[in-house]
């Protein structure tokens, strides 16, 4: 292992023997279920194991890149850590408040104004009313859409929408940040700003788990890389080394 944060640092995330299976049930109505049952056919399910016995320990203050090609289970792992998905086997432990930037803007409603969405989303991401009020100015300033904040979000351009959503998410101040492909938000200056914000969070000792297909960027940003292949951790090392292996260079 290239990275070895001091053993005394407490764990931020522990993934212990995690198995996650997906069952695709092909019937979605009672009628079909009953029809199958009458014909004594069992409900057809395809099972697909997305994560097979994943074990990980991430310590506080680490910035970890979850790497892997499409379908390797990165996003599933992130969703399990965030609590959206429930493990089929094994367990996950998290210390402190966790915020997933898994899909920014999930809680946004097009018919509400920017301001209302900031409050609603802040609360969805676990902030209290006082916390949102305290950070409101900062959130709006970061998103650079001051003059549109009282307009309904449906009139926003997609860039404006994502900037506001991202801005709310990075101001939630959790202990553990899960970031999935969101650094591709907005134009280049805004992207740079987002990266700066992520670095700031890193410097302040937050734990970050980042999924991205921009390999160079994450390798530079993170101090540990974990490579998933078909739901199995195959490498856990310095991120540039992991990226080289992914590219077949090492």
């Amino acid at each position: 292992m290239a990275t070895d944060p001091s053993i005394e640092t407490p764990e931020a995330i522990v993934v212990d023997g995690l198995v996650k299976r997906f069952r695709f049930r092909h019937v979605h109505s009672l009628k079909e279920t009953v029809a199958r049952w009458v014909r004594r056919a069992t409900v057809e399910t395809d099972e697909f194991t997305a994560l097979k016995d994943v074990n990980l320990t991430i310590r506080q203050g680490e910035t970890v890149a979850l790497l892997g090609f499409n379908g390797s289970g990165k996003s599933t792992l992130l969703k399990c850590i965030s609590g959206v998905l429930t493990p089929d086997e094994g367990q996950i432990g998290v210390r402190g408040r966790i915020a997933g930037l898994i899909e920014v803007g999930a809680g946004f409603h097009p018919d509400l104004t920017g301001r209302e969405n900031v409050y609603l989303n802040g609360a969805i991401l676990g902030m209290s009313e006082a916390e949102i009020e305290a950070r409101f100015e900062q959130i709006v300033a970061f998103s650079e859409i001051e003059e549109f904040i009282d307009q309904e979000v449906k009139f926003y351009s997609s860039g404006m929408f994502l900037r506001l959503a991202f801005s709310v998410a990075v101001h939630t101040d959790p202990d553990v940040f899960l970031v999935d492909e969101i650094l591709a938000v907005g134009d280049e200056p805004f992207q740079r700003k987002c990266l700066d914000r992520i670095r700031e969070l890193r410097a302040s000792g937050k734990t970050l788990v980042i999924v991205s297909h921009d390999l160079n960027m994450v390798a530079d940003l993170c101090d540990r890389g974990i490579l998933l292949e078909h739901g199995v951790v195959v490498m856990d090392d310095e991120p540039h080394a992991v990226v080289r292996r992914m590219r077949g260079e090492g």
Binding site: V94, G107, L112
Partner: protein, 295 residues
């Protein structure tokens, strides 16, 4: 399904995404109020009448029933003041319908959130209760005004009956709403089934006619009458009749117009519905683990 793992987590760590029961939502009060506000804002977006629609609908319903059932079919003769009798039943059934109908759709309707962010999922059905109450209160005000005009003078039993009836119908509707809302994630037929239930609910509870007709038709001791009388919605409607219609009605009309021992039945039904709510909450909590992947 999560088995309790033999290895304990390091101290101070928590399992993410563990579904808990309804009672834990107290800590999410703020989010709940925002969800309710959102719901109301979105529902009346770009509508001129806005919240006034919550008066128009029961108003129209009342007018239709009053003239067709009360006047044309002459149901009003036996139970004056019929307008109060009718409207006190309508507000109960409307409260029931709105909670149950919206709670059933609440999880599927919030699919983008459920799929992506972990929140206590009971928030969605619970917020439908609060939205329904926002619509219920103005109707209740109209009912009180109408009753006062018709000579209603409240007694303590009437106020108790109103409170008991409202709590009963909320608990009953939320209990069913949690059950149906959870099942609806996997089986979308549920919402159609619920629509069917809601369509017949107003006819199979004593909203338009008094319960005496049911007894006369089926016989006081038949199991159909028993079944009809055991329906918590019937009891809630009768509690509202006891609260608003009974004190306004002539003594001669009152006798035998309501179900017997309405208060006691109300208390028993409430206890039963509390049990049902507990079951609904447990089922919802259990099924909620798979919501994200089933949606």
């Amino acid at each position: 399904m999560t088995e309790v793992s033999p290895r304990p987590l390091p101290e101070g760590m928590e399992r993410p995404g563990v579904a808990r029961g309804l009672l834990t939502l107290v800590s999410h009060r703020y989010l709940l109020t925002l969800l309710v506000r959102k719901e109301l804002r979105v529902r009346y977006q770009a509508s001129v009448l806005g919240l006034a629609w919550s008066y128009v609908k029961p108003g129209a319903q009342f007018a239709v029933f009053f003239f067709v059932m009360g006047q044309f079919l002459q149901l009003s003769r036996s139970i004056p003041p019929y307008a109060i009798f009718l409207f006190s039943g309508i507000v109960v059934v409307n409260l029931f319908s709105e909670i149950l109908g919206n709670a059933t759709r609440s999880v599927v309707g919030n699919a983008p959130l459920v799929r992506k962010i972990f929140l206590p999922r009971q928030l969605f059905p619970l917020s439908t209760v609060l939205v329904a109450l926002v619509h219920f209160l103005p109707q209740l005000v109209i009912l009180v005004i109408g009753a006062l005009v018709s000579g209603w003078r409240p007694d303590p039993a009437a106020l108790g009956a109103a409170l008991l009836g409202a709590v009963l119908v909320i608990v009953f509707a939320l209990a069913l709403g949690l059950l149906f809302g959870a099942v609806n994630v996997a089986f979308r037929d549920t919402e159609n089934t619920v629509d069917l239930i809601l369509m017949v609910a107003v006819w199979f509870s004593p909203v338009l006619y008094n319960i005496g007709l049911v007894r006369d038709h089926f016989g006081a001791d038949s199991w159909l009458t028993r079944l009809y009388e055991a329906n918590p919605l019937t009891i809630a409607v009768e509690l509202f009749h006891r609260a608003f219609w009974y004190p306004a009605a002539e003594p001669g009309v009152r006798d035998g117009a309501l179900i017997d021992h309405v208060m006691w039945r109300g208390v028993i039904a409430l206890v039963v519905c509390m049990g049902l709510l507990w079951v609904g909450d447990r089922v919802f909590t259990r099924l909620s683990r798979n919501f994200a992947q089933e949606l």
